[in-house]
């Protein structure tokens, strides 16, 4: 056994305390929202900030086991509030802050629903949200808002720090539920620590050891409310004792070049990101802009959280090869919130490999070649099963199931959804793939989910918005799904049944639907298709069959009422 892994802390508070003690010079730096300035703290200081915030939570009457929501952009406020709640024994729940532009009202409604459903006493967020919530009559949200200034202004109380057991829940991770309502994934301390450490070990496989042996820093731009940011970056650096440089996602998306600059200037480093992030670098960092970059110190570029696209890998290597990027630096991986984060990682470090889709299978993603996402991390087992649950041989496509210490402890207050996700103690991922010589290849999904820019969106969310324009919602007269459109990844398609034939009316309706979805979900609809009533395939009980609908769409079998629209 790897000596480093045998010396692991048992819980998150222990990990934090240990980071300060064992790696006194290391720490974490957070950039401002434009990526210009940063504030750095050592791990000891991070620990001190968390202990102080825990005292504040105690003074505010938050007790162990109680959910506390955090919805602020990437900042020290986020870290203090989230870690402080965890140190108090409460259950921190990170909620994505509102969209960068527009959609303020939709964000208030979302926070309001979450406060009510989780029974959260507080949500750390802006004064603006409190005002908006009051104005909109969103009483749950309005009553729970605690601004960063109010939290910081609370005098910490002394409290007896709970000593969590390894199987106690450390925090809740939000994910899209199959009904369109978000679910909160319960992650025990054991899973959080094991998964972050095993991820680090897997990333280090071609480098001769965990990151502390071969790397100086992790330079990331992922949001901390995302499992890849929280476990794969934050916890991993804390456990490994490397420096963590964190850009708010806004800073990266506005200007990817700033992030690439830093990658080259903090020693040997590595980074996890979804496919679209690499694609964005190709598109937005132009040839002139690449001058002066040096990516030769980049040890590993993990790519996961959405389908890894071979064309993105090729384009990135071509664009950044001249400034020192090597193809073998790319390391595909696979994970999901219900597995804490990581399930599989490419351990070889030989560069991404692909295989043709077996037999006559078609890919949901418009791919003829699929990328190997590697082999299971430590103590984790991957199975590919047929619909009857029997394990399939190499090369046959089925549902991916996972067993191991990362598998979550069910959803918070949602026994039915938990039972559906956990089958015979294994996590039914809803992802499709096949095994080949011990390695996993992902081909598609059983679950109806759109993954846009690394974030999961349930089709119900789009359908409900469209239906709220046409008939108040819930009519089952729309179907939403995503299609692959070039290397950017997935785009949203919405199909709507209507009796209207008038072109002007359809145009007007179309515009209203696009704008409703845009304002409430911040998602552009790439294609909006009107069809006659009764054209969307449904089950006998009237449920929309999205896979069948998507197949019809892709094969050009849908009779559009709006040939003028693209």
């Amino acid at each position: 056994m790897n000596p480093w892994l045998s010396d692991l802390p048992a819980t998150v508070p222990e990990a934090l305390e240990r980071a300060g003690r064992a790696f006194p010079d290391r720490g974490m730096a957070i950039f401002d929202s434009r990526g210009r300035k940063y504030e750095r703290r050592t791990w000891t200081e991070v620990h001190q900030g968390a202990v102080q915030a825990a005292g504040r939570w105690a003074a505010l009457g938050v007790s162990p086991g109680q959910p506390v929501m955090i919805s602020v952009p990437t900042s020290w406020t986020w870290v203090d509030a989230w870690l402080g709640a965890l140190m108090r024994g409460a259950l921190p729940v990170a909620v994505a802050p509102g969209a960068a532009m527009g959609a303020a009202e939709a964000h208030v409604r979302k926070v309001d629903t979450l406060v009510e459903r989780l029974g959260a006493k507080y949500v750390v967020t802006s004064e603006a949200l409190r005002r908006d919530a009051q104005a909109l009559g969103a009483d749950h949200a309005a009553g729970a808002v605690l601004t960063p200034a109010e939290l910081a202004g609370t005098t910490p109380a002394t409290f007896s720090a709970p000593t969590p057991g390894v199987d106690d829940i450390a925090f809740l991770q939000l994910t899209s539920g199959s009904t369109g309502m978000p679910l909160a994934v319960q992650i025990p301390h054991r899973s959080a620590i094991h998964n972050a450490a095993a991820t680090d070990e897997a990333i280090g496989a071609p480098h001769g050891g965990p990151s502390a042996v071969w790397a100086d820093s992790l330079v990331a731009w992922l949001p901390l409310h995302h499992d890849m940011g929280l476990i794969g970056c934050f916890f991993l650096s804390m456990l490994a004792g490397i420096d963590f440089w964190l850009f708010p996602p806004t800073a990266f998306l506005a200007r990817p070049r700033t992030w690439l600059d830093h990658l080259g200037s903090h020693g040997k480093s590595f980074v996890p990101a979804p496919n679209f992030g690499y694609q964005l670098c190709v598109e937005r960092v132009t040839e002139n802009d690449r001058e002066g970059l040096d990516l030769s110190s980049w040890g590993s570029a993990m790519t996961g959280a959405e389908m890894v696209r071979p064309e993105t890998i090729d384009a990135f290597c071509e664009a950044f090869g001249p400034v020192g990027f090597r193809r073998e630096v790319f390391r595909p991986c696979y994970g999901l919130a219900e597995a804490t984060l990581t399930v599989a990682v490419d351990l070889t470090g030989n560069g991404p490999r692909t295989r043709s889709l077996p037999g006559s299978a078609g890919s949901d993603f418009g791919l003829s070649e699929v990328v190997c996402v590697g082999s299971a991390i430590r103590d984790t087992e991957i199975q590919v099963v047929a619909p009857d649950g029997s394990e399939l041989p190499d090369g046959e496509i089925g549902e991916v199931r996972v067993a191991g210490p990362g598998v979550f402890a069910g959803y918070y207050n949602a026994p039915e959804a938990s039972a559906e996700a956990l089958k015979e103690g294994r996590l039914a991922t809803g992802d499709l793939g096949f095994m080949w010589q011990g390695e996993l290849y992902l081909t598609g999904r059983i679950k109806d989910v759109l993954i846009l820019h690394g974030h999961n969106i349930m089709p119900h969310e789009l359908e409900w918005q469209a239906e709220s324009v046409t008939d108040g919602g819930g009519s089952m007269r729309t179907g939403a799904f995503s299609v692959a459109r070039g290397p950017q990844g997935e785009e949203a398609v919405v199909v709507v049944e209507t009796n209207d034939r008038d072109a002007d009316k359809l145009n007007e309706l179309g515009r209203e639907i696009r704008n409703r979805i845009g304002r409430n979900l911040s998602i552009p609809v790439a294609d909006l298709v009107f069809v006659r009533r009764g054209q969307i395939p449904k089950t006998t009980s009237g449920k929309v069959q999205r896979r069948a609908l998507k197949a019809q769409y892709l094969e050009g079998q849908l009779q559009r009422l709006d040939p003028s629209q693209d």
Partner: protein, 76 residues
Amino acid sequence: MDVKKSVLEIVSSLSERDAGQITPDMDLVGDLGIDSPKALQLLLELEERLEVEISDEDAAKMNTVGDILDYFASRA
């Protein structure tokens, strides 16, 4: 500096639409297809070209092209 012209130019380049076709009532996401990475690029370009710092709170209220124009008009 013509603020309106600059705003329309930036929106036009990001949405890949002719500036002449862009009207104030257009929604940034729904009508113009500006997704979240593009929205952040838009904010940054507005800030740099028009030399302002747009707060998160102000940005959250910008749903349409007109909302952006109003923001600059109210500062003038």
